[in-house]
């Protein structure tokens, strides 16, 4: 399946071949996904953003 070349608003090229399909169901309520999101939030609450650009202090 060939990649499709597109250009973003900032002029950078990107390649995308995602096929939009009604058969792709939403997984937002999958138990695993919900658990991962809660774990991710907890990780961020505990550890913060220190070290990221613009977030040198916790």
């Amino acid at each position: 399946m060939p990649a499709i070349k597109k250009t973003t608003a900032n002029g950078k090229d990107y390649y995308s071949s995602a096929i939009i399909s009604d058969k792709v169901k939403g997984h937002g309520n999958d138990p695993f996904v919900l658990k991962k999101v809660e774990e991710a939030k907890a990780f961020l609450r505990k550890n913060g953003l220190k070290g990221l650009p613009g977030h040198l202090e916790k």
Partner: protein
Amino acid sequence: MKLERYPYFASNDFKNYIFYSNGPKGQIKKGVRFSKMNNNPIMYNLAFGDIAEGTDVIDDMAVSNNNDRDLVLATVANTIFDFTNNYGNHYIFAIGSTSVRTRLYQMGIVGLWNEISIDFDVYGFKDGSWHTFQENVNYKAFLVKRK
């Protein structure tokens, strides 16, 4: 990103993606889901795993061993392009369900680093803070942002 990858399918809202891994274990359905987890800065969690036949839900506890790790990771990386094209250039958070799985993510990033580093800034969490990703360092979690 010009890495070889699997064809993949997106839901209408570009938050859900599926593709099929092909290897010695046969065809395995994979799913990717982006979920908002933080507002300042805006951050989305990337959940990724197998979609077991019959359940149609994502679960990352399965160990596929389908000998296509780089292809799978490259496909996941491409879903980030599609997602950020539609939702903006925000941080994407990723952590494995186990330390072993996180280590596998790390090895995958290292294996594709030459390509990934062209398009993405990658940060790893270690010793209480986030650091620019380095190939020879083990991290607890990852943040990815498109350049």
